[in-house]
C-alpha cells in the first residue's frame, strides 16, 4: 500500500519535471520487476509447501496404502469368482434352452399364478428387451405378470408393450376370441408411488372414514382393515408367488411392501444379459420349493 502511494506520488511529480519523469519511469519498471520476482518466489514457496504436505501424508499413511492394496486385491478375487460363475451359468443356460437337459423339459407353470418382474429403471428404458422378456414369459405359459420399476419408466411404455403383445397374438388367434383371450398376457405395471405412498393414502382413507363419527375413538385397525382400505382406493392386487429381479443388485427397489409377504425373490442379473435358459431354471427351482408359512 505504501509502495503504491509512493509510486503514485512519483508519478504525480514526474508530470512537472522531465528529468524526474525519466527517472520515475525507470523506478516504476524496477518496482514492477521486483513485485513480479517476489510473487514468483511466493508461488514457488507455496508449491513446495504443498508437495511437502502430500509427501508427509503419503509417508504417514503408508500402512493404510498397504491395506488399500489388500482391499483392492480382495475385490479383484471376488470379481474373478463372479466372472467364473457367470461363465458356468451361461453354459448351463445354453444347455437348458437347447433342450440338452431333460429335467427342464416339463415345467409345471400352474404353480406360478402371479409373477412379478422388478427392473432397474435405467435398464427398463430398453423397451425391446422388456418386450422380448414378455414374449418368453408368454411362450412359457404365464398369464399374469406384474412389471415394476422404481421411477415409472415402464408406465410410459405400457401402452406400446400391450399393443405389441396384442399384435403378436392376433395372427395366431384367428380361431376366435376365446383363443385370443387365452393367449393374451394380463399385464400390470407399477412403480414406487404405488408402494409406500399408497399406504399413506390408505391411512388417510381410514382417518376420514373414522372421522365421520366425531365422538367415537379410532378402533383397533387390523391387517384386514388395511387390506380393505387399500382395495377401496384402488390398490387391490394379488401377491406375486415369484419375483424376478433384473438389475445389478438383489434388491426389490421398493416394490409394494404388503404384497411381498411370502414371495420367492430371485436375482437374474442385468436385463441386457438375460437368458431364456436362466429363466426356465429360476421358475423350475421355484416349483420345487416347499413353504412352511411360519408354522
Amino acid at each position: 500500500m505504501d509502495a503504491q502511494l509512493n509510486n503514485a506520488e512519483l508519478m504525480l511529480h514526474s508530470k512537472h519535471n522531465p528529468y524526474l519523469k525519466r527517472r520515475s519511469n525507470k523506478l516504476d519498471m524496477d518496482f514492477v520487476h521486483l513485485a513480479t520476482f517476489l510473487r514468483r518466489i511466493e508461488s514457488k514457496a507455496l508449491d513446495l509447501g504443498d508437495r511437502m504436505q502430500k509427501g508427509y501424508k503419503r509417508i504417514w499413511s503408508s500402512g493404510d496404502l498397504g491395506l488399500y492394496l489388500l482391499w483392492l486385491i480382495m475385490h479383484l478375487i471376488v470379481s474373478i469368482w463372479y466372472f467364473a460363475v457367470d461363465l458356468v451359468n451361461s453354459l448351463e443356460s445354453y444347455l437348458i434352452s437347447s433342450g440338452f437337459m431333460k429335467q427342464y423339459k416339463d415345467l409345471d407353470i400352474s404353480k406360478v399364478r402371479y409373477l412379478a418382474v422388478v427392473l432397474d429403471s435405467e435398464e427398463a428404458l430398453d423397451t425391446m428387451k422388456v418386450l422380448e422378456l414378455l414374449r418368453w414369459l408368454t411362450a412359457m405359459g404365464l398369464r399374469n405378470v406384474c412389471l415394476y420399476d422404481p421411477e415409472g419408466v415402464l408406465k410410459r411404455s405400457k401402452d406400446a408393450l400391450s399393443l405389441w403383445l396384442r399384435s403378436e397374438v392376433m395372427p395366431n388367434g384367428a380361431n376366435g376370441d376365446a383363443l385370443v383371450k387365452q393367449k393374451y398376457l394380463s399385464l400390470e405395471v407399477i412403480s414406487f408411488t404405488d408402494g409406500k405412498h399408497a399406504v399413506a393414502k390408505a391411512a388417510n382413507f381410514l382417518l376420514k372414514k373414522h372421522h365421520l363419527n366425531a365422538d367415537a375413538e379410532v378402533p383397533e385397525l387390523t391387517e384386514s382393515d388395511m387390506a380393505d382400505a387399500l382395495a377401496e382406493i384402488g390398490y387391490a392386487a394379488p401377491e406375486p408367488d415369484l419375483m424376478l429381479i433384473y438389475g445389478p443388485v438383489r434388491c426389490h427397489l421398493g416394490f409394494p411392501a404388503w404384497r411381498l409377504r411370502y414371495t420367492e425373490i430371485v436375482h437374474m442379473g442385468p436385463l441386457k444379459s438375460m437368458k431364456y435358459g436362466a429363466l426356465i431354471k429360476a421358475i423350475r427351482r421355484y416349483t420345487m420349493v416347499r413353504q412352511n408359512y411360519g408354522t
Binding site: K196, V199, M226, W258, R261, Y262, E264, V266
Partner: protein, 276 residues
Amino acid sequence: MEKQSSSVVVRLLGSLVGYMRRFLFRFLSVGPIPRHMAFILDGNRRYARKWKMDDRMGYKVGFLALMRLMRCCHELGVKYITVYVFSIENFKRRPEEVQTVMELMLEKIEGLIKEEGILNQYGVRVEFAGNLKLLSEPVRIAAEKAMRVTAHNKSLVLVVAVAYTSTDEMAQAAQECCRDKADRGSQQQQLVELADVERHMYMAVAPDPEILLRTSGEKRLSNFLLWQTSNSVLYSPAALWPEVGLRHLVWAVLNFQRVQPYLHKRRNHLYLSTQQ
C-alpha cells in the same frame, strides 16, 4: 500341569484368531461398512434335526451363533443389528413349541441384562420391535426391563423383532397416525403424510438396513422388514442359522461394497422423489 498347558495353548490360539479377525476387519473397513444389518434366524429346528438334538438345544445353539455374530459386527463397526426372532405367524405352531421359545427368550433376556452380561460389556442397547401386547406377561415385562436397563449404552443397537410382521407393523403405524391426527381435533383435518407413517413404525428406532441376511438358503422375506428393505442387499446363504459365521458376514459385506455406489444413488433418487 497338562490341563494348564493346554488351556494356555487354547488361550494363545484364541488371541491369534482374534488378532487375525481384527486385521481382516481393518482391511475390510477400507471400503464402506453397512450401518445396519438385519438377520432372519432361520434353520434352528432343521439344525437340531440334522444333529439329532431336540428343538430346545437347536435354539440354544442358535442363540450362541447370534452372540458370536453380534461380537463380530461390533468389531467391524456396524451400528445397528436387527434379528427376526419370532413372527406373529409362529404363534400358530404347536403350543409346546411356542412355550419352549418363550421360556428360552425369558431366560436369555434375564441373562443378558445382568451387570456383567454381554450387553453392558459391549455397550449394546436393546430395543424390542413388534406387537409386544401379544407376548405373555413375564416376557413382556422382561423385554421392557431390558430396554430400560440398556438405554444408556451407545456402542451398538440390537433390535429384536419379536411378535413382529411387516403387515402388522404397517397397520399399527396407520392406526397410530389416525389416533395422532384425530387427537388434534376434528376442526383441523390434517392429512397423513408418508413421514408420519414412517415415524410410527416399530422399526423407527433404526435406519433402513443395508444388508438383510436370511439363512437356510430361503429366498423370501417372510413378512420381515418389507417396508425398510427398499434399498437393501438381500443375501441368502445356504447355511443354517447356528452354522452361520465370520465367512458369511465377510462375504455379505464384500458384496455390499461392490454395489454400494448404485444403492447410494438409488437412495438419493428415492429421497428426492418423496420430497416432491
